[in-house]
């Protein structure tokens, strides 16, 4: 490669392009065309992989012409379904989500820029299975389930069990994630998501921490505790021992510190270009403690407040 050509911006290579109108058709296209195909949702991971990482799909199946895959709906039983093609920006700004699960909105608001969030979809983000994905820990803290549709019908798996490793999920190549569901929660649920990265925006999480628990109105005890860590293991990780240490207890600063220490021990971080494993572990401890305490105080009202109370 000459120096000149190295300066030219990368471009995508030609591929066959399909826009099926139904899930069955989409799934069939993958089976019939064989290996080398990719589903396209918002494209904010796929197109970048094609430009930067030399990914050359043989064909692309765009899911955006399939009706019913996007939008946020409250069901009759009080559960909330989020279509896989719902954009991060919709999750960030949805009146329903901002009211019921402000920390889930927060986690979506941490992704890229508004331009990216207008395109990036929650389903694409889950299917891409980046360990640092911001929304995954928040959704797992809400016990979300993932609906997957393929040739052999539909199945539902807890999102916690959806991820298998970086870029790896339980889905086979012709399966499509169609919907995420959050079961009905009580009015005592509180939560917080903290993304720790040196830059306030346009950065990937060094560490992400989502916490959720039911805070007893009178006895102030924490029940159904969820502590989920991002970017410190091959998949989003529930810190179960830390959860157990808080379960049924009244949260104090001392206890938050102790629980956070356990979470840090449960994390399995690696050292990479962003951070050393030791630093990540130390940040899990600091951020878990703050997340637990912040959740009890209530949601931040602005991104500035969100930033300030991380530190």
């Amino acid at each position: 490669m000459t120096q000149h050509s190295a300066l030219i911006m990368k471009r995508t290579e030609p591929f066959d392009f399909y826009q099926p109108a139904s899930l069955q058709e989409a799934s069939r296209l993958l089976r019939e065309n064989g290996p080398g195909g990719r589903f396209l949702a918002g494209g904010t991971d796929l197109v970048i992989a094609m430009k930067e990482k030399g990914l050359v799909p043989k064909y692309i199946v765009d899911l955006k012409r399939i009706a019913g895959l996007s939008g946020i709906r409250e069901q009759g039983d009080g559960s909330i379904t989020i279509g896989a093609l719902t954009s991060m920006r919709e999750i960030e700004t949805s009146p329903l989500i901002t009211k019921k699960y402000p920390f889930l909105s927060q986690s979506a608001a941490e992704v890229g820029s508004i331009q990216i969030r207008n395109r990036a979809t929650v389903g694409g983000n889950m299917a891409n299975a980046t360990p640092s994905a911001d929304v995954a820990p928040a959704l797992i803290a809400l016990d979300a389930t993932a609906k997957i549709v393929g040739a052999n019908g539909a199945r539902t798996v807890p999102l916690e069990e959806f991820f298998r490793g970086p870029g790896q999920t339980v889905m086979s190549t012709d399966e499509i994630l169609t919907e995420l569901t959050i079961s009905k929660t009580g009015p005592q649920l509180v939560g917080e998501y903290i993304k720790f990265s040196p830059r306030e925006m346009m950065d990937l999480a060094y560490v992400g921490v989502a916490v959720a628990y039911n805070l007893g109105a009178s006895d102030k005890k924490c029940e159904s505790v969820r502590i989920v860590l991002g970017a410190v293991a091959p998949t989003p990780l529930r810190a179960r021992r830390a959860e157990a240490a808080l379960e049924g207890q009244v949260l104090t600063e001392v206890l938050a510190e102790k629980v956070a220490q356990i979470a840090a021990e449960e994390a399995k971080p690696i050292s990479d270009v962003r951070s050393s494993a030791d630093y990540r572990r130390a940040m899990v401890r600091a951020m878990t403690k703050r997340a637990l305490l912040n959740a009890a105080v209530g949601p931040a009202q602005s991104w500035v407040e969100r930033r300030e109370r991380r530190y």
């Binding site: 471009r11 591929f15 066959d16 392009f17 826009q19 494209g43 331009q115 925006m201």
Partner: protein, 160 residues
């Protein structure tokens, strides 16, 4: 693979044969010849290529032409109101909101998106909205000022 698609660009209907893997940015600049939209990073970090796709600001460097059938696209060329510059364009000029000017089309599109949603943004809200638009001259103070001044003008009169 080629596909015949139809979309609107700055209010005008366009029908063309496109290569489905072509990026919206390249379709605009190299094929249609509408060059106000710029390429900075090519990977969705800098915002120089921001256009409106179906009413929402997006990075045109990450949109495939194959996705565009039926789409509505507005570029910086569509920001003017008749022969008049949009108030955002006027205040960027007035306040020195552009230095080298390369990020400016993206900054203007994103500022419009912000002011359409929030007619009276605080400085923090402006910085949040423009987080995905990088100015390598680092002229952010004047950009923020220009958005605030445009907001004041737009609040004082009705602008489409």
């Amino acid at each position: 693979m080629n596909q015949r698609i139809r979309f609107t660009l700055n209010g005008r209907s366009v029908t063309r044969e496109v290569a489905t893997h072509r990026l919206l940015l390249d379709l605009l600049r190299d094929e249609i010849g509408v060059t106000g939209t710029k390429e900075g990073c090519g990977t969705g970090d800098c915002g120089a290529c921001t256009v409106f796709l179906n009413g929402k600001p997006v990075n045109s460097c990450l949109v495939l032409s194959g996705e565009l059938d039926g789409a509505e696209i507005v570029t910086i060329e569509g920001l003017k109101i008749g022969p008049e510059l949009h108030p955002i364009q006027k205040t960027f000029l007035q306040d020195g909101g552009a230095q080298c000017g390369y990020c400016t089309p993206g900054m203007l599109m994103m500022s419009k998106a912000l002011l359409d949603e929030n007619p009276n943004p605080s400085e923090e809200e402006i910085r949040f909205a423009l987080a995905g638009n990088l100015c390598r001259c680092t002229g952010y103070a004047k950009i923020v000022q220009a958005v605030q001044d445009a907001a004041a003008i737009m609040r004082s009169k009705t602008v489409p």
